[in-house]
Each structure stands twice: as C-alpha cells, then as structure tokens.
Amino acid sequence: MTFINIIYNYPYAISFILLVVGIFIIVNSKNLIMKIVGLNIFQSAVILFFIIIAKIDNAIPPVVTEHTTKQLSNPTPHVLMLTAIVVSIATTALAYSIILIIYRQYHTINEDVITKHMNNEEN
C-alpha cells in the first residue's frame, strides 16, 4: 500500500487513460462514426485491463508441453477476452449498419442535424 506502487502499476494507468479517452470521444463527438470509434477504444481498454491482470512475473504463455518447468500465466482472462474481441467486431458491424440506415433517412450523420430534423418532424 505504498505510493511507489503507482510506478509499479503503470499498465493499469494506461488502461484507465484509454477508458477515459474512449468515453470522451463518445460523449463529445457529433459524428456518429466517431462515437463508434470511441466505443471500440473503450472496449479495447477493458480488454487490456483483463490481460494485464492475468500476467505473472517470470512466467511463460499458457501452453503446456512435457518440457514445461516454469510457471504459466493465468489463462482464464485470455479465454474471456478472446471471445470479447470477436463479439466486439460483430456488434461494431451492426452499429455501422444502423448508421447506414440513419444516413439513408436523414442524409447526414451529424448528431445535431439529425436531432434538429427529428424535432422538426415532431412539430
């Protein structure tokens, strides 16, 4: 619990920076494509966080043969993140399809313009 741990735990800090950058891009950008890019960065930050947890010092990747004598890194977070990556690309493609349908309707992907059109349609 000493403050020198901030230096030892530098990978977590990078994961947190990526998280915050992802949220910033999602909240502040008006272009719909940039929002999905921010979502991808957010997902990558979460995946990086799990992979950082799994690492053990002086350990080798979790592939066992009869010559294995050293300690292995924890493979359970690897398994969860493997499927998370493939699922993230499938859901990103789905988000892009929805953006294309919005584009066909409003001919723009600027969030402010779309909101203005929607408010005009309501009135």
Partner: protein, 339 residues
C-alpha cells in the same frame, strides 16, 4: 526482465499518444489509419503480456476486418472530414464533460497505490489457483497442450456457446439490416465485376491474390486444427479464412467458387456452426452423460477430448467465418452499388 518492461512502457506510451491524437484528428481516413496502428500496438502488447491467443485474434480482427469496415462506412456515408463545429468543447456540456472525466481519471489513478502489484503471483485473480488446476488437468488428464483452448472448449464450454450465438445473431442483424439498403437484385450485384476503367486496381489485387490466397487459406486451416497444441482455435481461424475468402471475392467475382459458395449457402453455414456446437453437446446426452461432456466420444479420455474439442472448434470456426464474410461482403456490395 528489464527489456520486457522497457518494451512495454514504450508501447504503452505510443498507444496513449496515438489515442490522444485521435481526439484532435479532423479527417476520418486518418482516424482509420490510427485505429489500425492502435490495433498493431495492442497485438504486440498482448504478446509481451503472454496472451498469445488474444494477440492472434486482435491481429486478425483489429488490423484486418475492423479497418475494412471503418473505411467502407466512411466511403458510404461520404463523411470524410470532421468540421470544427462537431467538437463543441467550449459549450457548457463540453466543459462539464472534460472536468468530470478528468476527475474520473484522477479517482481511478488514485486507486493504484492500493491495487495488487502488476505481475504479482499472489493477485486476487490467481488466488483460488483454479488456473493451475486447469493447466495441469488440461495436459496431464486430457492431453491438450493449449490451456486456453481447453478452458474455452471444455471447462467454460457453455460461455463459448453463448458467445458463438452472439456472433451469429449480430451477423444475422447485419444481414437483415443491409437487405433493406440493397434494393437491387442480389444475384445481379453479386456477379458485378470491378469497373473496367479501374482495371489497374483489379490487376494489382489479382496478382497479389495468386501468391497470398493459398498461404492464407492454409494458415487459417492450420490455426483451426492446431488450436489444441498451440495458440489458435475456431475464433482466430474463422476470421483469417474469412479474410482470405473475401480477398478472393474482391479480385475475381466471377470465379467458380462464387457459383458454388453463394450467399444463401454462407448464411446456412452461419447457422450450421451453432448447430454443430449444440449437437456435439446433445450427442453426449444421448448416451447418458451431461451436456458438453466429451468423455463418451472414445474409450481413451485424451482422444475423446480431442474429438470433442475438434467438433466444437469446427462449429465456432464455421460461424465466425460466415459472420465475417457476410459482414464484409454486405459492405462491399453496398459500395459496389453506389459506384
């Protein structure tokens, strides 16, 4: 290892610099370039952090499919630039978001003195030592070298079934949504060649294809079937084979394989993958065992588990291959229609 730490620090600094420069970029093509850089950095970082299966997946997915989709949607929505008004940072909402996000980041970093040390073997993530049970049992009892494939296929097989179904549903959603946008007849646009006035482009792709396609297909199938003994498995192999098939589609749309492997066949492969997974589970139940218990496939338990993992990885590989192919070919058809 000092070299490992130095490499990791430099890669992480490059990664954060690239991500921060994404905020101020005004052109979306450069955004796609930076995103593929980020994916390459992630791949190398995962290798340094001993996550080799995750590194293969990130390399195939992030640098390959993700960049294609981003470029495709930039072209289809004709939004090449981000105007300065689209980042309203100086409004009230913008300043509020910056202040709250910086506060959030400081709170997260203030937790760092109390988290377990990076690389500590007494991490709470390792504390039950379940991973030692997994890795030992994986090799000694079942003869599977790659602990990640063993956990994915057998110890946490249910989760993988759910994830494969999620990929299936997302791809089906893309298929259905794109059908409303593709108003022309499917078979006509599918056989449409690349325009003759861009002959040079197709020549380049075709000559590159001859060298690459056989290597990529062989590599993809190698990853599929070698997943038990090294990094690999169905997820990675599905993406690599889909990339190879999509290259074939791009370069030679009239080739013989497109007459045989049509669009509806690929949708059938999509559902066939999930079906193979479920049938492997149910076939254990027929002989009295539990769902997804592979012990009945053979008398020797090692070959039984090899057979069981082979079948479910086949299902996962088929679904992921069909999902990625549908996604990429739908975007390709949309671009072809608007040319």
């Amino acid at each position: 290892m000092l070299v490992d730490h130095f490499l990791l620090i430099s890669l992480l600094v490059l990664l954060s610099a690239t991500t921060l420069s994404l905020i101020v970029t005004r052109q979306l093509i450069i955004v796609s370039l930076l995103m593929s850089f980020i994916s390459v950095f992630f791949t190398i970082i995962y290798i340094i952090l001993d996550a080799i299966d995750v590194a293969i997946t990130e390399a195939a997915v992030g640098s390959g499919v993700s960049t294609i989709l981003l470029l495709a949607i930039i072209y289809l929505t004709k939004s090449y630039k981000i105007s300065i008004a689209q980042y309203k940072i100086l409004s009230f909402n913008g300043i509020l978001s910056i202040i709250s996000l910086i506060a959030f980041l400081l709170i997260l970093i203030s937790v760092l003195p109390f988290t377990p040390i990076f690389g500590d073997a007494n991490n709470p993530a390792h504390i039950t030592n379940i991973y030692k049970v997994y890795t030992q049992a994986s090799y000694e009892t079942f003869g599977i070298s790659n602990a990640v494939t063993m956990i994915l296929g057998s110890f946490r097989g249910f989760d993988t079934l759910g994830e494969t179904t999620v990929v299936f549903i997302a791809s089906l959603g893309v298929y259905i949504l794109m059908q409303t946008l593709l108003s022309v007849n499917l078979s006509k646009s599918f056989l449409k060649t690349i325009h003759l006035n861009e002959n040079n482009e197709s020549r380049i792709i075709q000559s590159a294809i001859l060298l690459l396609i056989s290597v990529m297909l062989l590599f993809g199938l190698y990853i599929q079937f070698h997943g038990d003994y090294g990094p690999g498995g169905g997820f990675q192999a599905g993406v690599v084979v889909a990339s190879a098939y999509f290259m074939l589609l791009l370069s030679a749309p009239n080739s013989a394989i497109n007459m045989i492997l049509k669009e509806d066949m690929i949708v059938k492969i999509l559902s066939l993958g999930v079906l193979i997974y479920i049938l492997t589970g149910i076939s254990s139940m027929i002989f009295g065992n539990k769902f997804l218990d592979y012990a009945i496939f053979s008398t020797d338990i090692k070959s039984a588990y090899h057979t069981g993992l082979f079948c479910i990885e086949l299902g996962v590989g088929a679904t992921v291959f069909a999902a990625m192919t549908i996604i990429m070919s739908k975007f390709y058809k949309l671009i072809n229609n608007s040319l």
